[in-house]
Symmetry: C3
Subunit: 470 residues, 3 copies
Amino acid sequence: MQDKFFHEDRFFNPDPGVRKIAREIYSSIKDSPIISPHGHVDPAIFAKNEPFPNPKELFISPDHYIFRMLYSQGITLEELDIPDKNGNTKSLNPQKVWQLFGDNYYLYAGTPTGAWLDYEFSEVFGIKERLNGINAVEIYNEISEKLNSTEFLPRALFEKFNIELLSTTDYATDSLIQHKSILESDWNGRIIPCFRPDAITNLLDMNWKENIEKLSALVNFELNSYKNYIEAIELRREFFKEMGATSTDHGVIEPFTHKLTKNKAEELFQKALTGAITEEDAFLFNANMLMEMARMSSEDGMVMQIHPGSYRNHNEAVYEKYGADKGCDIPIRTEFTINLHELLNAYGNHPNLTVIVFTLDESVYSRELAPLAGHYPAMKIGPAWWFNDSIHGMTRFREMVTETAGFYNTVGFNDDTRAFLSIPARHDLSRRVDSNYLAGLVAKHIVSKTEAIKIAEDLTYNLVKSAYKL
Amino acid sequence: MQDKFFHEDRFFNPDPGVRKIAREIYSSIKDSPIISPHGHVDPAIFAKNEPFPNPKELFISPDHYIFRMLYSQGITLEELDIPDKNGNTKSLNPQKVWQLFGDNYYLYAGTPTGAWLDYEFSEVFGIKERLNGINAVEIYNEISEKLNSTEFLPRALFEKFNIELLSTTDYATDSLIQHKSILESDWNGRIIPCFRPDAITNLLDMNWKENIEKLSALVNFELNSYKNYIEAIELRREFFKEMGATSTDHGVIEPFTHKLTKNKAEELFQKALTGAITEEDAFLFNANMLMEMARMSSEDGMVMQIHPGSYRNHNEAVYEKYGADKGCDIPIRTEFTINLHELLNAYGNHPNLTVIVFTLDESVYSRELAPLAGHYPAMKIGPAWWFNDSIHGMTRFREMVTETAGFYNTVGFNDDTRAFLSIPARHDLSRRVDSNYLAGLVAKHIVSKTEAIKIAEDLTYNLVKSAYKL
Amino acid sequence: MQDKFFHEDRFFNPDPGVRKIAREIYSSIKDSPIISPHGHVDPAIFAKNEPFPNPKELFISPDHYIFRMLYSQGITLEELDIPDKNGNTKSLNPQKVWQLFGDNYYLYAGTPTGAWLDYEFSEVFGIKERLNGINAVEIYNEISEKLNSTEFLPRALFEKFNIELLSTTDYATDSLIQHKSILESDWNGRIIPCFRPDAITNLLDMNWKENIEKLSALVNFELNSYKNYIEAIELRREFFKEMGATSTDHGVIEPFTHKLTKNKAEELFQKALTGAITEEDAFLFNANMLMEMARMSSEDGMVMQIHPGSYRNHNEAVYEKYGADKGCDIPIRTEFTINLHELLNAYGNHPNLTVIVFTLDESVYSRELAPLAGHYPAMKIGPAWWFNDSIHGMTRFREMVTETAGFYNTVGFNDDTRAFLSIPARHDLSRRVDSNYLAGLVAKHIVSKTEAIKIAEDLTYNLVKSAYKL
């Protein structure tokens, strides 16, 4: 028999005094509704509400957090039958892939992926043992069976998970047809879009011209000038807002911000239309578009999110065969104090603007982000992101951010996931880490328990709603 | 009723074994006299020894640590009636401003500012509850009343706080008239100046030429050559030294050090006199002046402090209306290994020189500063500075510095404050964090308790005196 | 009487629950054989197997970890009688130097050097008190006496330390005569070389041409072309492999990787032969040689180690008098995501390659190294290196690496030392820190105790053997 693998005190400080306080704080927030203001779940699964196909398709195929670890240990994506960029697989027996997953499940020891999976197996599917090579088939069958029951349909799980709101992330040129379908259905689940215009603002995007044509078709006028282009973006934002969106999202390598003159912007836009863009051109245009987006947000009130610093598709061989989001995005050093100077000077004191800044570079928490958010009224710090959305990662976030920016210049938790089933696992982990951090402050007599419980409730629910204007 | 808000075990590790040791170590240092070798308290308050006007003027108006947090949450500096750059306010009712402060005091939860304020309210003014919106007026009145008693006059508090020595920070062109007045008074409080020549060494300082004229008037000869200029600086250092100064202080963005040829230095100096200086010119001149200052320190024995890496007045709108030191200074990434190479090669082995280096960029603690200070005899590491002068910040400092540089290449604590009343609070917090860190080493059997107590006494008192040559 | 200075629970979390688990995990690995896959012990000491001369020569003279701390506090290398670059000393009484060491032993409080020394004194020499100024002579005599017994001969200690394998680090042009002598002796201790070609790949090495001539003599053909040069390197790798080497090692300032065209490589090689090389040339040639080395490793299977980011001989005055490795090497900021892009794209998916990457810049653990090693099958992360090979340093390593890369993309411990006697001390400290980290995970219910013990055994023994192909 294995040691008990899923414990009610998991992630809490082992000191009995602190643990007792952590439990008490956690108990006041563990049943709060989930607000997921930023993520990548496909809205189609709720529009269609069809059963998830099988455990391998549910857990492994769409989740690069999972297969990147297996890949790092020499297991090929072919062996895991990950769909290639055209969606084709070799139709391997999914149970065999699952067996390989079970055989290597020990690799996740000490990782948040392991902690989330443990939660999903235990709390969602009622599995009693940690997955391994011996029980893999049995667990596969147990999950498969459940997936075919109505309780495990996407909408039923959405309700079971107590999700009050879920935001997806959508191309500026997305028709939002899935969102419309959900809105028009008799289901009350609240799923809203988020406006992500990278594919039309990054002049080096491989499909930029195609995207501009799509945009043109959607707004019904030609995009032959920078002015038209800006108007088209404003119209799409309006449409997204009508469809429920309250935020925009901007993925850039470097968060440099700089307003170009109209002439320069026009020049670059025309150059892009004729196709002869340089890296420097695209860099400047991006910097300018962040300024435009901040300006639009200060006008239409949509919350602006900046997610910088990811070197996308670092492993070109994997990218060429399998496409994006295959575990090959690697962070790079990121600078904010100088890069955001122009944006914050133009809009950082604006009462109608909220800019939520994320980072993959933890060295900026105490050095740049907390000092900036601890001063500019428009700026807030997004939660520990991606690789740092983890027990130690979130703890470092609180330790390095709170003392300068306090709790109230942060915005609660984002799960940022495309793995729907991991949502409650991720929120639970975050709530536990926050409860534990606050318990430490109580035990060290820095805040009272009453204050800590209030802060925990704000971090879990109230701050998310207010920061994202929900 | 609130939870007890001010606890005798605050900030100590909750583990009962460690806490017991921390208490014991702390008890051996808690009553040590305060030595404050670097800070920004205005010496005039001791020269004049007048009562502090009211709680708002005492706590809020001069302390950007406090109002930057309120500002970040959308409270304007107008609402707080912060004096503009000409010293003008709107004469709002200070009790109303205080009420706003009380209403928002929860924002400081988990910040060192909150911990210091709690100390000041509890230990200096005997307040029994944490400030909030309900008790704000009552507390205002309680503090106001005390401020009018002779016990709360600046000199009386200086003595009550058990301050053995306080260093101010002064322009190279300051007459030190307040210091002279204190020296000539019948009061024995030891308040010494520190020589800060940035305004005459930074060629891009808006008032550089004016400052050079002031300097010229003070030394009584014309500053028409680089040679004269250097001589004038040497004379001012001599004057500061006579007035009790034992240290100099240098605020630069990047701590690049490089000796220019005499011709090049002369050329840049003449260029500055005629006003056509570039950023590159100023950068090189600064690098050269750090070399000159190290040379002078190796000659006159004054301890050289370098405080680099702050992007001053990042929020230009606030700067234009309110001037400097309004919570808008934001750290940037800082490099030391390459930048200090020339200075350390020229003077780092010099027995008469002490260079104390500070940083706002914590990534350099283990990577650059500890290895440098753990080798060069002239170099020491200043304590966790500004945003990092906090419980977690000081703990990270010890964790990242000690293993490479030991305790004895650090220099004890600096409060670095312009908020006089926060001095005992800051020193107490620092002593507690050091006691706690040492208690951890004892509990992990790395040092004995006897050794830990000796180290604590050195960090609190002896190292400060020796490092600053007091 | 002193407090007990060497405790069986040292370095473990003081929480009684965690400590109990840590003890149990540690007990399962503490007697594992030592595998030392990377270090700098001189193989001659085992070839000759002569008694160590005296405590000062054994502990102080060869170990810059020790004398850099004394130097930083104003004790000169002359006073310590450190051999100059020609090996000359002033033949000071070694007992007097030892006394100075004892007088200043308190400087090592809280440092790993102190912890290692305590271990060596207690566990290797049976000393019962921490070294200090009073007991220094007594301890000197006690150690001296033991050094003259057969039990303290190098080979006897090697066996007593339970070292299964020790790797040295050797110039590409080394004859490996000491290794041959050991192999041909009747002693069974396994000591293998590691191929370190920096002195022939760094075109700016002061002796580059001389080294190329040596290399030419060893391979018995003229090195008049880049092609010949590459062939010669391949032959030397073959020779090292025959002599037992399983790894190569590359020390570069910046780990930039870039394949040059054959023509460009030839051009730079010829330029170097005639002596007119620039920094840019050397930088590009290094980048190219890392690509060549990765290519060769993918062919001959030797594990490639990269140790970047040390600014060597920062203190030129010390370097000129005393030579390299005198405590004057200082880390600089290091970048991996962009620098390793080309190498990892060319070879990172290769099943025959292992690249172990080390860093002195901890900011890259969570940002760059863990994400890279958590994806590329060929890449692994080397343990906390040099200044970070310490209690807090190794803890930070686990905390910042594990959540993204897991345990199995790391490679166990490297002692990396030239101080033979510190080997068991360093491995013991590492095993304790890992046991303690794992105990924390168990206490927080993240892994089971059974799982933790398995991981501890892998980190201590199995992963080292597999990663280094031993």
